[in-house]
């Protein structure tokens, strides 16, 4: 177990391993995808116990903090594993890796209580260094989803970076948008200004134009998993604060397995 006091050093070192807004595409034999953990450090530990040794890559899809008391420890644990083998862990940014949410959902208060008044600044620095997306085995992995202004995956590499909140509209949408396969195009999301639902036609078009098999993302509270567009868009949720199931997705060769923790 990681002590809270270790986390500032771990995230400082992990920050140096971050490689910009879009990571290089990966192709691996066995990959585990983890949705929002939201402080569930026990679940994160279970994932490492169960998968770290036998997997080639574990992709965390963002939202490690807020909505609980152990966000500092959760971040520290994932960062420690990333430092142990940076090729084996990907830590994407979620909409909760941001001052926009941390002030209201508990992480600022948690950091202040455990590490002092000024400690949160280090976390902000870490958050804005985290990547938005990566393509793994032809699946686009990111926290929220497609943006109204995004035509190709490669555009993500050119987004303003670092971006604290983020304020760039495309970056913002990558972290905040949600898929809805019963609509076409983009419609404004109930989450607020600047966030959208992306529909079936724009998703199909994006996948085709970018030679992608699908999208793997988190961001929504679901009972472990939700499939949209016949499974082309997978939503994973890996926390239990909602009282539902925590799931991870295991991709081995071409086979996708849903595992409930």
């Amino acid at each position: 177990m990681i002590e809270a006091l270790e986390t500032p050093r771990l995230i400082l070192e992990a920050k140096e391993k971050m490689e910009g807004p879009l990571l290089d595409s990966r192709r691996e034999k066995r990959v585990v995808f983890v949705g929002d953990t939201h402080t569930a450090v026990d679940l994160t530990q279970t994932i490492f116990d169960k998968y770290y040794a036998d997997s080639d890559l574990i992709v965390f899809l963002g939202d490690y903090v807020d909505r609980g008391e152990t966000g500092v420890e959760n971040l520290g644990l994932i960062a420690s594993k990333l430092l142990e083998d940076p090729t084996k862990i990907i830590m994407l940014r979620g909409n909760h890796e941001s001052p926009l949410t941390n002030a209201y959902y508990g992480f600022c208060a948690e950091v202040t209580e455990k590490l002092g008044e000024t400690a949160y600044d280090q976390f902000k620095e870490f958050f804005q260094a985290m990547p938005y997306a990566v393509v793994v085995n032809s699946y686009l992995c990111l926290h929220g989803g497609l943006a109204t202004t995004l035509d190709s995956v490669s555009q993500i590499a050119d987004l303003p970076f670092p971006d604290m909140n983020p304020d760039d509209p495309t970056a913002f949408q990558l972290l905040w948008n949600d898929p809805r396969d019963m609509i076409e195009g983009f419609i404004p999301s109930v989450r607020g200004d600047g966030a959208f639902y992306y529909g079936s036609d724009v998703t199909e078009k994006f996948l085709t134009n970018n030679s992608l098999k699908g999208i793997i993302r988190g961001h929504e509270v679901v009972d472990g998993f939700r499939e949209d567009l016949g499974g082309k868009v997978m939503t994973i949720f890996t926390s239990k604060y909602h009282g539902g199931a925590a799931g991870v997705l295991v991709l081995e060769d071409e086979k996708m397995e849903k595992v409930t923790l």
Partner: protein
């Protein structure tokens, strides 16, 4: 999450009644509000006498005890927003869709919101104006978003043959019950005007909005909605209206 209305139950239980047109429904049970054919001396729904003063409306039991769980939706972009809650959906039933649920809690924290089964109060036919288009078309309401995550993607039939006025709101007496605290108890209604599908806002607190392809525009009073229109009720529930 579905609730059979007493009116529907009557229809399902009595094949004769089912086969009859609305014009044959000539007496209304004073106890439960169900309409009955003249041939029946007791209410086909609650069993009450035609005189009606001794019958007790039959409570409709929720098929599954509603369980409400906190969810993340929606989140603020720049301001705190209350946690909303999730209500489980009961297994789907073939013809009638409504939700039996309690109001979602908004005030954080809400780890274990109350769940109180309700006794639905059906709206008697006599209170609803006759539909001018009974037998015309069939529409569906597909949930694009609502705080109860399990309802997203749910497809609710809108059947004007059964309900000339399809009331929408948070209260259980509505034809379509939306478990969203930002939706008013009696929020909006759908009717047919000839072949036109009309949406009316019932002076709801947080408004009814129609998506115009660019933004959600508030509905004042009544507007025509075309198939595939996107409608927002309050701040957190969006549906798509589809037609057959």
């Amino acid at each position: 999450m579905k609730r059979l209305s007493i009116k529907h139950k009557a229809k399902q239980k009595d094949p004769d009644l089912d086969a009859d047109s609305a014009e044959t429904l000539i007496w209304t049970c004073s106890a439960c509000g169900a309409d009955n054919p003249d041939s029946k001396q007791t209410c086909v729904s609650c069993g009450g006498d035609r005189a009606g003063d001794s019958a007790t409306p039959k409570p409709i039991e929720p098929a599954v005890e509603p369980t409400i769980e906190p969810t993340e939706e929606p989140e603020p972009l720049e301001a705190p927003e209350p946690e909303k809650t999730d209500a489980e959906e009961t297994p789907p039933e073939p013809t009638i869709f409504s939700f039996d649920t309690d109001s979602a809690k908004l005030e954080p924290p809400s780890p274990e919101p109350e769940t109180t089964p309700f006794l639905p109060t059906p709206t008697p036919y006599s209170q609803a104006p006759p539909s001018p288009t009974v037998g015309h078309g069939r529409f569906y309401m597909v949930f694009v978003n609502t705080p109860a995550q399990s309802l997203i993607k749910s497809k609710v039939p809108i059947e004007f043959d059964d309900f000339p006025v399809v009331s929408i709101g948070r209260s259980p007496e509505n034809v379509v019950v939306i478990p969203d605290q930002e939706v008013s108890r009696k929020h909006a209604e759908l009717t047919m005007s000839g072949t036109r599908l009309m949406l009316k806002d019932l002076n709801s607190k947080n408004g009814t909005f129609l998506y115009n392809g660019k933004e959600f525009q508030q509905v004042h009073d009544s507007v025509e909605v075309k198939p595939n229109s996107i409608v927002k009720f309050g701040t957190g529930t969006i549906v798509r209206l589809t037609g057959e």
